[in-house]
Amino acid sequence: MRPFAYASPRTADEIIALLTPGSAGADGASRPLAGGTDLLTLMKADVATPSRLVDIKRAGLPKGIEETPPGLVVGGLTTLAQIETHPAVRARYPALAEATAVAATAQLRNVATVAGNLLQRPRCWYFRNPRIACWLKGGDHCPARDGENQLHAILGGGPCHAVHPSDVAPALVALDADARLRGPGGERTVPVEGLFAAPEGGRRRETLVGSDELLLALRLPPADGSRSTYLKSMDRKVWAFALAGVAARLRLDGRRVAEARIVLGGVAPVPWRAHEAERALEGAEAGPAAWDRAANAALTGAAPLRHNAYKLPLARALVRRALESLAT
């Protein structure tokens, strides 16, 4: 790890000032530090080289879960462990509870924050290897494309084929959560889905959150009779990133599907909203035929690389299973 400076401001404004290039005291290479479980490992791997870490845990930013009936607000600094064990989350937003519970390990979940989880960088083993240059790190090509791409994207890949690693993000997208952000120009609220975009051109990152913005909180709309779940497939029973994950939410009207969300994790550079699957479901009669149609539609446009075609049947199976479990 290279040397860096450290600041621990007491207000959000001071944090943002330090993050904003050109403002007093800023040097353009500061990063907010939450739990540090991703940022510090990136620094050890020489992938992130911030000149200063700005600790955001002492500025009174939202932390914890606030019930705002009929919805819920989750502070950005809330740990995954707090979410996973929260009774209201478990009762009304099972997809979120389940996604946090299968993320990382118990030790990590005790310090990992939900904002940090959404903003974590890809786990691509080329990206994280300091010995290898790659496009996302500013190089000129993607060695994974024709390389060891067994863990890479089958949907929406290129120029970067890394998958978005978060389990939590697909759940939040499926639950139609919003994110409240604060930057030098004030606050804005966007759907969680809108935080993400596949890297392209000059923007070699997976998020649309500005480097001078803070993710303050997430707002979950009323569950409104929806059922939801998150299923994840890993190379071992626990402590692994998703080979594929699916967050599914269904609102049934009798035997008809009134509303559906299918969001895939681990298969695309962003949490992948499977619009075609949702369309296939909405209005359809709940049952195996609809689940099969949705499972196939979810993978529309999939373009597997040399070593990751196995993710297609895997993702399909998870979608089918998730829907089955929601309708019984």
Partner: protein, 768 residues
Amino acid sequence: MPRLHVDRLRSGDGSEDEYRVVERTGLAAWDATTALTVVGRPYPRVEGAEKVTGRACYAGDVRLAGLLHARVLRSPLPHARIRRIDTAAAEALPGVHAVLGTHSAPAIRWYPDGLLFDRTLRFVGDEVAAVAAESEETAADALRLVAVEYEPLPFVVGLEAALRPEAPPVREGGNLVGPPKVYARGDAEAALREAPVVIDETYTTQTALHNCLEPHGCTATWDGERLTLWDSTQSVFDVRERVAETLGLPEHRVRVIKHHMGGGFGSKQIAWKHAVIAALLARRAGRPVRLMLDREAENLAAGNRNATRQRVRLGATRDGTLTAISARIEQDTGAYLVGGEGSNTSAIYQTLYRCPNVTTEQVGVYTNTGPAVAFRAPGHVEGAFALESAMDELARALDMDPLALRLRNYAEADQRRGRPYTTPDGLRLCYERAAAEFGWRRDRRPSGQGSRRRGIGMAAHDWGGSGYPPGYAWVKLNGDGSAEVVTGTQDIGTGTRTGLTQIAAEELGLPLERVLLHLGDTATGVYAPVSAGSATQATIGPAVRAAAAEARRQLLEAAATMLEAAPADLQLREGTIRVAGAPDRALDVADVTRRIAPHMIQGHGARGPNPDGKAVRTFGAQCVEVEVDVDTGEVSVLRVVASHECGRIVNPTLVDSQVLGAVTQGVGFALMEERVVDAGGVVLNANLEEYKVPTAPDVPAVVHARVDRPDPEANATGAKGIGEPPLVPTAPAIANAVFDAVGVRIRHTPLSRRRLLAALAAHRPEPA
């Protein structure tokens, strides 16, 4: 009575004759009828409290005044020559005390054809330079300041690529390590031509990484011309010899210490470069140096289990009698011969089944990746996967129960040398115990409903683990009647301290608490060989017993005078010496030792020879049940029943631990562990995140169906090794169970989801 036998093993040219010295002890072996009170009991590890409270001191925990921290710069390229190296900036960095590299290090020979710091680099991770500094961070900063100009050379990664005729040579002379090692008995080709049933398949096993919890490394300090090394090694004496030789020091000025070990699994059975580098840095800096590898270095440059490709052909008659076994084996040696790779993948084909016609051909292949080294049952794990999968395929082809097929081809002798086993029914007992405990039956029921299918599988193995001479121990009795045992072996985490203490306490007639064992120190201990090959208990146990017996003899002689009885009439148990038939005439051991103090009773003991004309071996069988989710490719190992013949069980808890640990590693090898190397030669998963080892939920319920039967012909304690054997059959048993569950044969480890889903898709075309 002449006790020292000096055999001339091999005649060289006069002075180069090789001799083997074996001391005979004349002790009657403890057999099944001997009543033992300390041996056989499940004592917790004697060092357990130290370990769980964090007080146990490992190689990297030694804190010396002025300690410096070292880091090693490693080659970023798979094959290159160093054109120029400039360490001036690194040396100028405040806090840096010593820098070593090709340009500045002494030309110390390493590997058969290289130097400690060589200009030619042959894998990503090869040592380029080393720095000792006030902190690890400063050392890492300094490494970034070392300017190296590399001349990239053509390279090759992977077994198949390296075997192609046009493959770039890893070294002059091509990529074959040597001529194939060929073994033949009978005529396998002819037998295969005539066999009514033939299995002919190719299996591959992956490169697996040891991932010891404690990485390789050491702390080195000089005291004038005396060097002390706390090294994480399985062999303090081998490290001492190598370090003394390379640094030109007499052996008595090098002291190597290993008190506790966080795993070695074979990867620490040789002296590695770090020990010499740390010693050189410490000498240059004039301060002690700690050099522990980080996880990446550990997984790049500290050994691995070689990948293999094995073409296996079995010939059999319709009743399941094997008529031919043929194996052609290629294995990925990596960039160098480190001297401890020793993967004899051929061996299991030669011994496990009775078969008159056997041919094995084994060739090592150089590639530009980290060198292979022994890994828990090296060769056998790889060979067993292929052979035991092929046997399962044969059983299916014959429509025969896999266990019945194995029993039909039961071997009672080592067919390589025509020697009967000391326990000819050892494996049969394992089959019986495992099958009974598991409820093994011929199982052809439809394999379950829905997407989750269950299946059962089994596999067998043999292995060495006999132990061998030489190996020594001393026993001293203190004035207060306590005893100390001194030996130069090491406890590599297996519980050697405890098992050996039990042997000494038993022979001395003392409770365990009155005996303390010292090991892992060349300065105070007598010679013991490397802790490898599952040999330590069976090698040093008899030496400890012999030393204790000698001390006991002296003790009873002294007591005889005090009790006015003949030594032969004395009984010694639980610290009390009694005259036979006269219960009131008794003395505590301490009463004797106190009265003769300051005289100290000392016993010397040696490992006696192995039996003439017989082969000592260990055996085992495992049955497993798996559940396969055909939709997700997830394999859950539900239960494993393991039965292993390792002679007398000195401590059931410790043996159970070896079985549990080995099965755990077997599950990893079978289902998830695999080093991934990019075409550019970079290991992509040299960390514990992407290199998947089993977690607690991955580990099945393991039942150890013990076979606790002394092998008195093996040695005076009747105990054999158990460290490696239980790993051998786990992976093929799992693969066979997966086949049973889903009807798809995976001939490649690991059986990852990726492989399984691909195979299932090919087997049963998916509905669009």
